[in-house]
């Protein structure tokens, strides 16, 4: 059974289609949910949480329907919203304990779990200070802690690295990775930054304009492509001309030339061409697919990745 499943899921706000006939089946792991702003990431998360009800279609979490079994789903889901959600005048301990109790944990269990979870997210002595005095990085940790405190099976993180500096970003991503791999919690990370997802994720769901662009493992997005990148220090245009004359499919990309690999003779032909023109060759490398290609323009990316 898929952890998260969507069947013909649509959500319309008047004429605006936030989600349009989305079909999706996600297995446990660290799942990146990628899309531009307004692509429908948050809408999907909110439907899974039962805050929004779908216009048509259905979504399930661990086999439970998002509309019918909302309460059951919420017990096993932790949600970290995109926006600020912390009152400034209480301590992190106080706040997270309170949220644990709202999630149904008895008083002592709530205290224990809070201490444990705050330690996991890396808040130590600061946790007794008021949240108002925290840095953005610390606040993000508290937000993650409140989502983790009731030991969910599924964590929904909406833009968890928002507003963080590069160090804070890496720490947060590391924390997410640790949560997903060592705690045995499935994590869905919504982000518009592909690099982040590449760093932590095992599975990628790309949505665009409410439709599923592609859902697959991260490695399949970045596997080798039948394209050879040739880099020369100078004379790239001359080399491209020479290769064109040999009936190779080429494309000039800055100082690099991308050559389609039809058969093994391509390597020899390039070598000969470079030697004939007496150009300084820097490298020849088989291209890897890049996640960015997904959104840059869908057609060549699909062709390039295969």
């Amino acid at each position: 059974m898929a952890l998260i499943e969507a069947i013909g899921l649509s959500k319309h706000y008047g004429a605006v289609k936030a989600l349009d006939q989305l079909d999706l089946a996600v297995e446990p792991g660290i799942i990146g949910l990628v899309g531009a702003n307004g692509a429908g990431k948050s809408t999907l998360i909110k439907i899974l949480l039962g805050i929004l009800s779908p216009t048509s279609g259905r979504a399930t979490v661990m086999g439970m329907d998002s509309v019918r079994d909302t309460r059951a789903i919420r017990q096993i889901v932790g949600y970290m919203p995109e926006h600020d959600c912390l009152p400034p005048d209480v301590s992190a301990t106080e706040f997270v304990t309170h949220m644990a109790r709202i999630s149904g944990l008895p008083r002592t269990a709530a205290r224990e779990r809070t201490a444990e979870v705050l330690r996991h997210v890396g808040l130590y002595e600061e946790r007794y200070r008021q949240i108002g005095g925290y840095s953005t990085g610390m606040k993000q940790r508290v937000k993650l802690a409140q989502a983790l405190v009731h030991d969910p099976k599924l964590l929904l993180l909406d833009e968890p690295t928002n507003g963080l500096d590069p160090t804070g970003r890496d720490e947060m991503l590391d924390l997410i990775k640790r949560t997903g791999t060592s705690f045995g919690i499935t994590v869905v990370v919504a982000s518009h930054l592909l690099g982040e997802i590449e760093q932590v994720g095992t599975y990628l769901v790309a949505i665009d304009a409410g439709k599923l662009l592609r859902a697959d493992t991260i490695s399949s997005f970045t596997k080798r492509t039948p394209v050879l990148a040739v880099e020369v220090e100078e004379g790239a245009d001359r080399l491209a001309q020479a290769l064109d004359q040999k009936k190779l499919r080429t494309r000039l990309d800055g100082t690099r030339i991308l050559v389609a690999i039809n058969d093994d003779t391509v390597y020899d032909m390039i070598r000969d061409a470079v030697a004939n023109l007496d150009l300084p060759l820097v490298r020849m490398q088989q291209e890897r697919g890049r996640l960015e290609d997904l959104f840059r323009d869908a057609a060549p990316a699909a062709e390039g990745i295969q």
Partner: protein, 308 residues
Amino acid sequence: MTAPNQPAATSPAGSIYDLGYRHYEGVRHGRLYAMWSLYVESLRGVWGFGRPTTAKAAPFIILGIYSLLAIVQLAFSSVFAQAMARGDTVELLTYANYFATLSPFIVLFCIAQGPEVVCRDQRYSVLPLYLTRALSAVDYAVAKIAAFTTSLFVALMVPMIALFIGDVLMKADAFQAIGDEIPHFLPAIPASFLIALGLAAISLALSSFSPRRAYSAMGLVAYFLILEAVLASVFAIGVESSLEWTSRIKLLGPTSALSGANDWFFGIRPDPKTFGEVLGADAYLGAALLSVLVFTSILLLKYRRVRS
């Protein structure tokens, strides 16, 4: 409340790379427990517990001022007792007239602490965290009203208890005095509860319209103090020019309606000097109950629309 769910397929990973994270296997309570937790937290918030010391100042100072006269009366009970023994008539505060006399201070409590109960959750967007847990918007509103009602009830009962102790101490035979006093004291409990509920419903309903505490407080000042003052002056003009309809106008006042309802519990007629001759206490009781109903509905409707 809900059936436990199958463990995630990847959970064994936790035992292989054990970094000390332990899964929680204990009980998980449901919605009522969540409401109770929110109620307790809000109640603590009103009095500033778990908050910085400055947060405790406003509620306790206002409560101190509101209860001051009752405590003074308690402190000087022996003096009053001697005066009464000499046959002097002493004007004492009673359970029935205490709220009517000092209501501005309780209103001040509402203005200072009411917005605190609901505004911060909206201002700092804590609300979505509640609504993605076991609580519904209605549960949230109910817990908040209950918390503020309890706070106000406690505040209203402090001087009542001080009066009770004072009255008992004024009597020669304290044990018999307790028995004598209790029937006079008892109506204060339901009366204070109704006043607390009425004020809480108004305070939270009006506060919920703005996430900014200051704006909410201004709204409450307008409704509680300015409206009441306008009604009082219209009433005064009505008395001078003997207009009949103005004697019903106090029904509209938030505190005057509750004050009239308070008299109903003690079985006395609202003071004609401030309430006019036309209406009895039951009319004010009706007005107070209607106001509870209206403002609670406003609050619930308001939160039905807020869905994160």
